[in-house]
């Protein structure tokens, strides 16, 4: 416990959504395109994981180790008690992703991400635009389906190619009606860029303000003046709903250097223990959002108002 606590807290992401929403497809994508991260993916069903044999380094029945360093293990009843053991793996893992079962409350599964050694990064819930309203209206399972949406930090709409565009916008307004302004993005037909879900480390080097894959935009915001932790929190809370992900390091006036993580409507501000935190009065926050997101000016304007 002590050694675990002393280490960097490992980000922990939950993928939720009802049966058929596309969780398995997403998980398979993640395992194949990890962008150099060593991800431990805890899946609901090992039988559904499809990985080319030549990418598998080791397969012992309950755990698959991939050539790219990722590992995949199954969500069994031992899962909970053994989750902290993932922190002891050597070489260490960079991230844990847990696929919740199709009926379960992903917010409950997310609580494991608050245990020592982890940092709960976010609850991402996939929504099959074709079937979601039918499931939600089902007298038996409807309440649990709605609960999944309510527990999401970020919603990802899937199966978009199966319905007409105006139906997608109807689903969007239906979601806004039933669960409020949860940031919501589309899953492109050829798969979701992991950077959208997991942060901007591997897109931060791209042109600020320029488009990234699949119509997402990214922009880099710098503080114009020193800012307190509370003001920073208010600024993050006020980000528009087409911002789906933010990450940065800022030197605050009252809490020193901090790290900022935003996934949809979840935001976390934690002490920056890195070797070279930003000097007082400085900082950088990278923001990623949907195509509707504006350029740098809009963000910097909001920032100035707070300081």
């Amino acid at each position: 416990m002590t050694t675990r606590g002393a280490r960097r807290r490992v980000p922990f992401t939950v993928i939720g959504g009802f049966l058929g929403a596309g969780k398995t497809t997403l998980v398979n994508d993640l395992l194949r395109h990890a962008h150099g991260e060593r991800i431990a993916v805890v899946v609901n069903d090992m039988g559904e994981v499809s990985i080319d044999a030549d990418l598998i380094a080791e397969h012992d029945g309950s755990t698959i180790t991939l050539a790219n360093g990722c590992i995949c293990c199954s969500l069994s009843d031992e899962f909970a008690l053994s989750l902290p053991d993932l922190l002891d793996l050597d070489p260490p893992i960079d991230r844990v992703v847990v696929e919740a079962s199709g009926i379960s409350d992903p917010g409950s599964v997310a609580q494991y991400g608050t245990l020592p050694g982890f940092r709960l990064d976010g609850v991402v819930v996939l929504v099959d635009v074709e079937t979601i309203r039918g499931h939600a209206a089902d007298a038996r399972i409807g309440p649990q389906v709605l609960r999944q949406l309510e527990r999401a930090d970020l919603l990802v709409l899937t199966k978009l190619d199966l319905v007409a565009a105006h139906d997608v916008s109807e689903v969007r307004s239906w979601i806004a009606d039933v669960v409020g302004p949860v940031p919501c993005t589309d899953a492109p037909r050829d798969g979701l860029d992991p950077s959208v879900l997991f942060g901007l480390d591997h897109v931060a080097g791209r042109d600020p303000g320029g488009p990234i894959d699949h119509g997402f935009r990214t922009t880099t915001v710098r503080p114009g003046a020193p800012i307190s932790r509370d003001a920073l929190d208010r600024w993050l809370a006020g980000l528009p709903s087409h911002v789906i992900r933010s990450k940065g390091r800022v030197h605050t006036t009252d809490h020193g250097p901090v790290v900022v993580h935003v996934v949809g409507r979840r935001r976390a501000i934690t002490p920056d223990r890195s070797a070279s935190p930003p000097p007082p009065g400085t900082g950088t926050i990278v923001v990623i959002g949907t195509g509707e997101m504006g350029g740098d000016e809009a963000f910097e304007h909001g920032w100035d108002e707070l300081t």
Partner: protein, 557 residues
């Protein structure tokens, strides 16, 4: 002709075989029953040894617990501190702590008994629902020790209460985990709800991880022999996809020293392929191919909802009297249909955990649909717990050939709570409606769900016969059943729903020589005395297994 025949005399043998209901002697050869009757009818089999060990005892068929868990044997590695007294594996009564003060005093004694100051005190079995007034908090537990970490794991297995030393060791005040109960100042009260919050308590994970071990099988066996039980199911077996669990069962249960028949029902949700029902069925058949007389993989166990007292059983209108939400499906109804159909078509007996009446509907619907496309009439699929089943549902179950296994112990352990605060008086009166099941023609058993309540079929029979609650209320006098029907339920009725009634459940020629050896006849004592009948022990496959305080262990090799 080789002898090896033992004829046991008994004060009475209650056979549960209607064509030969009572006898004075039973002959046993090769672990099986050779004959039942007066001595002069049994000597026809030739040379024998006459054994009068049971001359003053009553033999009934070996009792079968058709819904229990290996956990019953595992938890006794730790002290029990529950409200109701409970016999430990050595036969001593433990618990019976009816106030917070008694609990704290007992924890102080346990604290003093530990020599290592750094060893945590982990104990189990608390149900604060029985304490009037105050909720148990860290401050109460601090009176037992301010320095040693104390964890009190609740009977529900969903909650724990810890002391301040534990809160501090786990830095629980700083945790963001849901389920850390806090007071009006935001300080943790000591109560931790659900597994993630409980895992913040440093002793919790090692304690829970330690539960899965060989010793739990042996402890379960000691408890079962002392309670007069000869066959125990493990109704949430991991053996499908956990080779270690399958190997342990085979190694231990098939050991001649092991005094129990063990019937695992495998739960697919513990495995890595919860969606692939065909793979589950195929793996089950592999396990079943290893079945022996003692270790019998009986079928698949599915879990469809939660519990009534946890407000997670899924209810039809009008739901809970508190207005709590409808409950939680553990598996969507469409998936339940698919699983039941797949296993049904593969010829696998399915037992479905269903407490609330909405989920019981779904379970019956699933079997109904499976039967429309695949005519396996002798499936004996079973609704487990079956707590709120209505008469109309029992009629459908009867027509479809389904069985029920009723959680009779609930009447005693939570009957007053069901009456007052979960489903209200009328439905509380028809909880575990054994008389309705019988009237409507459903074959049923009665169970403890050990470790949720203690293993012991005499107590379970007593609950179904008397339907008393701790406050003295008779909960549903019209659902009381006779002692005969209750004994039938825990012998023939249980054997039937496990597809084992051709070899277990009654004392008649050809079946395994499994007996429960009692001091009195449960059919003739006053019904209120059924649970107090003394247990000499059991006979398993012809081998006497006396009750006792000494641990049972493997054959030394």
């Amino acid at each position: 002709m080789a002898a090896n025949i033992t004829i046991h005399s008994a004060r009475e043998i209650v056979t549960m075989n209607p064509s030969n209901p009572s006898a004075s002697h039973v002959a046993v050869r090769d672990g099986r029953i050779l004959g039942v009757g007066p001595l002069d009818e049994l000597t026809i089999w030739g040379d024998h040894t006459l054994d009068h060990t049971f001359a003053d005892h009553v033999l009934v068929p070996g009792m079968i617990e058709a819904h229990a868990h290996l956990l019953e044997g595992a938890l006794w590695a730790f002290p029990y501190v529950g409200y109701f007294p409970r016999r430990d594996p050595s036969g001593q009564w433990q618990g019976g702590l009816t106030t917070i003060e008694e609990l704290v005093d007992h924890l102080a004694v346990l604290d003093a008994s530990l020599s290592d100051p750094d060893q945590a005190l982990f104990c189990w079995g608390l149900d604060p629902i029985y304490f009037d007034g105050d909720r148990l908090t860290a401050r109460h537990l601090d009176r037992a020790s301010s320095t040693r970490q104390i964890v009190v794991f609740h009977a529900s297995l969903h909650l724990a209460t810890v002391n301040t030393a534990c809160l501090e060791a786990g830095a629980i005040a700083d945790a963001e985990t849901e389920g850390v109960v806090r007071d009006e100042h935001g300080r943790p009260t000591g109560e931790l709800q659900e597994v993630p919050a409980m895992m913040l308590a440093p002793p919790m994970t090692p304690a829970l991880k330690s539960l899965r071990n060989d010793q739990s099988y042996w402890t379960l066996a000691r408890l079962a022999v002392n309670a007069g039980v000869t066959t125990v199911t493990d109704l949430a077996s991991q053996a499908l996809f956990n080779q270690g669990a399958a190997d342990a069962s085979a190694r231990i249960v098939n050991d001649p020293a092991y005094p129990l028949r063990f019937v695992p029902y495998c739960t697919p949700s513990f495995g890595p392929t919860v969606q692939d029902d065909d793979a589950v069925a195929a793996r089950f058949h592999e396990l079943a191919a290893t079945n022996t007389d003692k270790l019998h993989y009986g079928g698949i166990k599915l879990i469809a909802d939660g519990s009534i007292q946890g407000y997670t059983a899924v209810m039809n209108w009008p739901g809970y009297v508190t207005g709590a939400p409808q409950g939680l499906w553990q598996v969507p109804p469409d998936r339940l249909d698919h699983m039941v159909r797949t296993y049904h078509e593969a010829g696998i007996n399915v037992h479905i955990h269903a407490n609330g009446d909405a989920v019981i509907d779904a379970a019956i619907d699933a079997v109904d649909r499976a039967l429309r496309t695949h005519a396996w009439l002798d499936h004996r699929h079973t609704v487990q717990h079956c707590q709120l089943t209505s008469a109309a549902q029992y009629r459908r179950m009867a027509r479809l050939g389904m069985c029920g296994n009723l959680f009779a112990n609930h009447l005693w352990f939570w009957g007053d709570q069901h009456y007052a605060s979960t489903v209200g008086p009328e439905r509380a009166h028809r909880l575990e409606a054994a008389a309705t099941a019988k009237r409507e023609g459903v074959r049923f058993s009665l169970h403890s769900d050990a470790a949720v309540t203690p293993l012991g079929q005499l107590h379970t029979m007593w609950c179904a016969v008397n339907r008393l609650t701790p406050s003295g209320r008779v909960l549903g006098e019209h659902e009381r059943i006779s002692a005969y029907d209750a004994l039938h339920a825990v012998t023939v009725g249980a054997a039937y729903q496990l597809h084992l009634d051709h070899v277990l459940g009654s004392i008649e020629v050809g079946k395994h020589a499994d007996f429960t050896v009692l001091e009195e006849n449960p059919l003739t004592v006053h019904p209120i005395a059924i649970r107090d009948i003394g247990v000499w022990g059991t006979v398993l496959g012809g081998v006497p297994r006396p009750a006792g305080s000494d641990p049972i262990g493997p054959t030394s090799r």
